[in-house]
């Protein structure tokens, strides 16, 4: 491969993956604290910023590392054994920053010119929203839901549904600064508890046009931001690749579950003294779960490789591949869920404890798979339809 997508970036992704793995012991120590806080501890946020994980796919001209799209997968996966919520937030925020690189250059400058460490949470769904087109921008208020990392973020990327006469509302992404939104404290969940995925409230703010971008524009090969950000990865179409966001955390957590299980079971004896590692049922469980995790990893690698080629050719995605990718991210979620469940159910009462790392990993995988991009039914049906020659209506 020519350009910067070759060896140099591989090494950089590997370097960040090493940094992520090095952080795992610290993150694991803070597991209880993170669960109790229901958001990341300040110390963890500081560690993330210090390591530069949020900046991996941020444009180089604004202090980012401009790694190829897909690098969030191994890096976030490497964080998962320490903390599922950290893995999730790193993958999600890094992906937002890649999206932000497609906005008008001025919007990017607003976020990063003064502070390259600034970062954005997001909320794409809303419970109630009031949006109106006004001169030079949008008048916005409302409550957006499930905004991971919203407690600390400097900006929020929200979705506006802009009313149009006689048509369904136009959907746009919009950047809102910290001063204009508040995070509620309503994230009380079983999975990804530490992600602080609270609702955010925006009260009567004005968002200038340039800080917004239409769904159609951000999905272009030559979106506005590509005028200033020339790296091939910014030419990937947003909705064709976005679902990859949950894949790193899912795979990393499933691997963490497997490692926690095998490390634990090697030492354990049954009530009547049998060494559990010598039981064939246990051997077959770890074998099947590890096969699922390896399959998940190779599927992810296939798609990441595909995206890097697609970025280099710069011609955009073909629809069949978009559908296949969408199906596969959800399938990876299924494989990882099954892998962890098969191990958790062999653990007995000790496995039910919140302080059991396998139990925690399973809960977090379920959290990851609850995301709209990871649900099996919604994400597999469009591909099934395409196989059966049925036209799929609406967004994919």
């Amino acid at each position: 491969m020519g350009d910067d997508h070759g060896q140099k970036h591989k090494a950089d992704t590997a370097e960040f993956t090493r940094r992520a793995a090095a952080l795992v012991p610290k993150l694991a120590q803070r597991r209880r604290e993170t669960l109790d806080l229901r958001r990341l501890p300040e110390t963890t946020v500081a560690d993330i910023l210090d390591a530069g994980f949020f900046k991996i796919m941020q444009p180089a001209r604004l202090g980012g590392f401009e790694l190829p799209y897909g690098s969030q997968v191994p890096i976030s996966a490497a964080l998962a054994p320490g903390c599922g919520a950290t893995s999730w937030i790193v993958s999600v925020v890094a992906t937002h920053h890649w999206m932000l690189a497609k906005f008008d250059a001025k919007a990017q400058d607003d976020v990063w010119a003064k502070n390259p460490n600034a970062y954005a949470c997001s909320a794409f769904g809303f419970a109630e929203a009031n949006v109106a087109k006004v001169d030079g921008g949008y008048k916005v208020s409302g409550r957006w839901t499930y905004s991971s990392g919203s407690n600390h973020a400097d900006w929020a990327m929200i979705v506006l549904a802009v009313p149009r006469d006689g048509q369904s509302p136009e959907r746009r992404f919009a950047m809102v600064p910290r001063s204009e939104f508040q995070a509620l404290d309503n994230w009380r969940s079983v999975g990804l508890r530490g992600s602080g995925s609270n609702d955010i409230v925006v009260r009567e703010t004005f968002v200038p046009d340039y800080r917004t971008i239409g769904f159609d524009e951000i999905d272009l090969v030559d979106s506005p931001g590509t005028k200033v950000n020339r790296a091939p990865s910014y030419r990937l179409q947003t909705f064709g690749v976005f679902n990859l966001t949950g894949v790193g955390p899912a795979i990393g957590l499933a691997k963490a579950a497997l490692d926690a299980f095998t490390d634990g079971i090697k030492q354990r004896r049954g009530t009547f003294g049998a060494k559990l590692a010598e039981l064939q049922n246990i051997q077959i469980r770890v074998s099947e779960s590890s096969a699922e995790i390896d399959a998940a990893r190779h599927i992810a690698e296939y798609h990441i490789g595909h995206f890097q080629q697609e970025a280099m050719t710069g011609k955009g995605a073909d629809k069949t591949h978009i559908l296949k990718h969408q199906r596969d991210c959800a399938y990876i979620g299924r494989l990882c869920t099954r892998a962890a469940e098969r191990l958790a159910e062999a653990q007995g009462a000790g496995g039910l404890s919140e302080d059991n790392p396998l139990q925690q990993a399973l809960a977090d995988i379920k959290g990851v798979c609850a995301h709209i991009t990871m649900g099996w039914d919604a994400n597999s049906v469009p591909y099934g339809k395409s196989l059966l020659g049925i036209e799929h209506q609406g967004m994919i």
Binding site: T262, I265, Q283, I284, S287, H298, D377, S380, L387, L388
Partner: protein, 413 residues
């Protein structure tokens, strides 16, 4: 093919060979019922396969083969199996023999292959209790019965894995090459799937074989065997038994892919009793999506392992024991994914789905039968890998490996 034509043909790629066998698809589909009735491949199918040159994919160049990397023969087998499971199976099996012939006793290679690049070589690894080779006068006296030599009715030669009792300890395992006529074929292949593979038994009542027709399994299952002094390409630097499972996993996956293709072809146009288009049913969309996801997952594992094996062979390294077990686990897992994928489709087809004439049913039965190969046993391979992962001692299955290791050590002395 003449020798000069063969030389011109030397730049053939894996893609070329896959394309050549893909072009046979309509004929294979047409002959499916005939093969099932015969319980072996029709002669014309074997002739077609030979004519494509695809069976020589991994045969040494020295003998007129293409010497393409291990796995080319399974790519070919997978493609064939999408259209006819039994054709894919036999091509995978015979193709794998043509690969490991490059590792075999040099005298045997000469005798079997010199001037005969299209010689067909069958093999059987399982034998009935009591089958044995007893050393005598520069060779062995052999008797016994060997099970399930796929395609044996068409073969010019057949290699039989034979235990040779030792004064103490476990028997040494030998691979012995026999010429057609030196063994009897016993017609035993009455099965629900892979019917046309003609996987019949070979019987030797009592016969002498010279040592020039013998290779030790321990030798063949090493990175560099005695026979590789004839063929020093990296292509042959893999242990024969340790990588064998892929030769049957490839066609098994191909059968399940065939099931999906036939399912989609049937369901795209079918209407229910009330006139509804069944392709509109979300239940069917989910079935198609899940089965296709499983088959793509299986393909991703297959591709990753093939790249891994090629890299190891090119670097002239041994495969680490844990990785050998992982590869075997992956082959079994590929078989499991293939079975699940095919079952999910056939069970949505109603009574038509159990009809012998339904290609989905044939492909399903072939998938099940392919996955029944011992090399694809989930219980054996998953247990062995699980043990390795858990750090406990070797599995019962590894007794075989242990014996081979002991024999390999003895060989080095």
């Amino acid at each position: 093919m003449s020798v000069s034509a063969l030389q011109k043909d030397q730049n053939v790629t894996t893609q070329d060979l896959v394309a050549r066998v893909a072009a046979l698809a309509p004929k294979l589909v047409e002959r499916r019922a005939k093969g099932i009735a015969l319980r072996r491949l029709p002669d014309e199918t074997v002739a077609d396969l030979v004519a494509t040159g695809a069976l020589r994919a991994c045969l040494p160049k020295r003998w007129g083969g293409y010497e393409l990397p291990f796995g080319t023969h399974t790519d070919i087998a997978m493609e064939l199996a999408r259209h006819c499971g039994s054709s894919g199976w036999v091509a995978g099996i015979i193709g794998s023999h043509n690969w490991w012939l490059g590792k075999f006793n040099p005298a045997t290679q000469e005798e079997v292959l010199s001037g005969r690049p299209d010689a067909l070589v069958g093999a059987a690894f399982a034998s009935k209790p009591g089958s044995k080779a007893v050393a005598k006068d520069g060779g062995y006296v052999v008797s016994g019965e060997w099970m399930w030599a796929s395609g044996v009715d068409h073969c010019d030669w057949c290699a039989l894995m034979t235990p040779s009792p030792q004064p103490s300890g476990p028997p040494d395992l030998l691979m012995i090459m026999w010429k057609r006529g030196e063994y009897r074929i016993k017609d035993v292949w009455n099965v629900p799937g892979m019917k046309a593979t003609g996987s019949n038994n070979a019987v030797i009542d009592e016969a002498f074989v010279p040592a020039s027709r013998v290779s030790r399994i321990a030798d063949l299952n090493s990175k560099v065997s005695t026979g590789q002094k004839l063929n020093d390409s990296w292509v042959y630097r893999l242990p024969m038994l340790d990588v064998f499972a892929y030769s049957v996993a490839g066609p098994t996956l191909g059968c399940a892919k065939g099931a999906l293709a036939s399912f989609l072809a049937a369901m795209t146009s079918r209407t229910a009793l009330d006139g509804a288009k069944v392709a509109d049913f979300q239940s069917l969309q989910l079935r198609a999506a899940e089965s296709s996801a499983e088959l793509d997952a299986a393909q991703a594992l297959y591709d990753a392992d093939m790249s891994f094996l090629r890299a190891v062979a090119q670097a002239n390294q041994d495969i680490a024991p844990h990785d050998i077990l992982r590869i075997k686990r992956n082959c079994s897992y590929i078989a499991n994914l293939s079975k699940r994928a095919a079952l999910r489709l056939v069970e949505a087809m109603g009574a038509g789905g159990v009809d012998d004439a339904n290609p989905v049913q044939t492909a399903f039965a072939d998938t099940m039968a392919g996955a029944a190969h011992r090399a694809l046993s989930w219980d054996i391979n998953a247990s062995a890998y699980g043990k390795s992962l858990l750090g406990t001692q070797t599995s019962p299955d590894d007794e075989v490996l242990k014996r081979q290791a002991a024999a390999a050590a003895a060989l080095k002395k």
